[in-house]
Amino acid sequence: MINKQVTSISDAVADVFDGATVMVGGFGEAGSPIELIHALIDQGATNLTVVNNNTGSGEVGLAGLIKAGRVSRMICSYPRTTNSTVFPELYRSGATKLELVPQGTLAERIRAGGAGIPAFYTATSVGTPLGDGKELRQFENRDYVLETGLTADFALIKGARGDRYGNVTYNKTARNFAPIMAMAAKTTIVQVGSFVAAGDLDPEAIITPGIFVDRVVHVADPAHESALVAKGVTYP
């Protein structure tokens, strides 16, 4: 019987290796898999390339991972944060590199990576510093840049409900990058607030089919980043 449930969150991230590329779901705090990130901090993997729209806030979750010196490179669209000086300091010191990607290009590159599309053309960034050095091509008299698909070794994702097949639903705008990251990673690890029986999820409303998911961990009552930051929590 297929059962992708992993009962221990530390087991779920045990094989993340030094130098891995890790996609982390979430846009701001919505959809940020805090507990999985904290398990990854405990696990100790370093020299990671992390793909996330932002760089976390405060000193918990993704910002905690960055502060712990585990991230050598960020791929994101908006690394500025109101509540965190963690990334700016490491960026300015050169300890953490940054690949800045327009948000829609980032999303499409991840989706392409998951869909077996090695490259595609987009008008986004044409004529801007982020389009500099990219291959230009005209289609119907408009300029486009060539962008490549993005894949990862691991994806860490926060879902709302999940089952033993790895089917996942999300809560509101916590969905954001999670479904496409689940497609683009070799190993996709999802924390879900509720673990339900196979068949409990409406097959018309499953957002991430289990084929894209490798491990499901039940994390009841996951923390919210803003609440941790407001309480002054730091991790580790």
Partner: protein, 224 residues
């Protein structure tokens, strides 16, 4: 200290109201952070606009009542919002398919600089120590059918934001359709900045003096 800019021209809400008048009923609209967000409060009676936020929601409603919010229901500015009846959630690739594919009718953005050919700079001052951050701005200007800029006519230092060519790094090339400032409404045309409307009590010369390049007077009217 009182300067003319403090005493003439539209308030932020009046600017947003002026933009709202130009957005047709039934439009799908994406609003940038800041003054653009005020547009929702000035939609003329009888019109219904549908708001898209690029982090995965269409049918976005106002901020929640205190204590009623969900930290996982936020807008692109990462502030808590609500979802109206008829709203839908989707993932980021689908969200930017709406943007890139030309499905959003109007985007209203802030600006650092707008050039006479429609170039926009609104994501970076190019300062060497700044943390570069672009978000969805480049996708929005490349994909949305109509791009409006809403901005003070000049910077806090009195420098013109409407210029012959942007000195800051570009967000997009030739993408802006119209600029709404505290002083005027100005279209981007093949010939450059075309004055469409002056704010009450503001003269052509007053606006021209605060514009970094030639401003074409209103058609059928004489400059100054």
């Amino acid at each position: 200290m009182t300067t003319p800019a403090d005493t003439v021209g539209l308030t932020r809400d009046e600017m947003a109201q002026r933009v709202a008048i130009d957005i047709p009923d039934g439009s799908y609209v994406n609003l940038g952070i800041g003054i653009p967000e005020l547009v929702t409060q000035h939609v003329p009676e009888g019109r219904e606009l549908v708001y898209h936020t690029e982090n995965g929601l269409i049918g976005m409603g106002p901020s929640p009542e205190p204590g009623q919010g969900d930290p996982e229901l936020i807008n692109a500015g990462k502030r808590q919002v609500t979802a109206l009846p008829g709203a839908a959630y989707f993932h980021h690739a689908d969200s930017f398919a709406m943007i890139r594919g030309g499905h959003i009718d109007v985007c209203v953005l802030g600006a650092l600089q707008v050039a006479a050919n429609g170039d926009l700079a609104n994501w970076s001052t190019g300062a060497p120590d700044a943390i570069p951050a672009v978000g969805g701005a480049m996708d929005l200007v490349a994909g949305v059918k109509t791009i409006y800029v809403i901005t003070q006519h000049c910077t806090k230092h009195g420098d013109p934001k409407l210029v012959e060519a942007c000195s800051y790094p570009l967000t997009g090339v030739g993408v802006i359709d119209r600029v709404y400032t505290d002083l005027a409404v100005i279209d981007i045309t093949r010939e450059g900045f075309q004055l469409i409307e002056l704010s009450p009590g503001v003269s052509f010369d007053y606006v021209q003096d605060r514009t970094g390049t030639k401003l074409l007077p209103m058609q059928g009217a004489r400059g100054a």
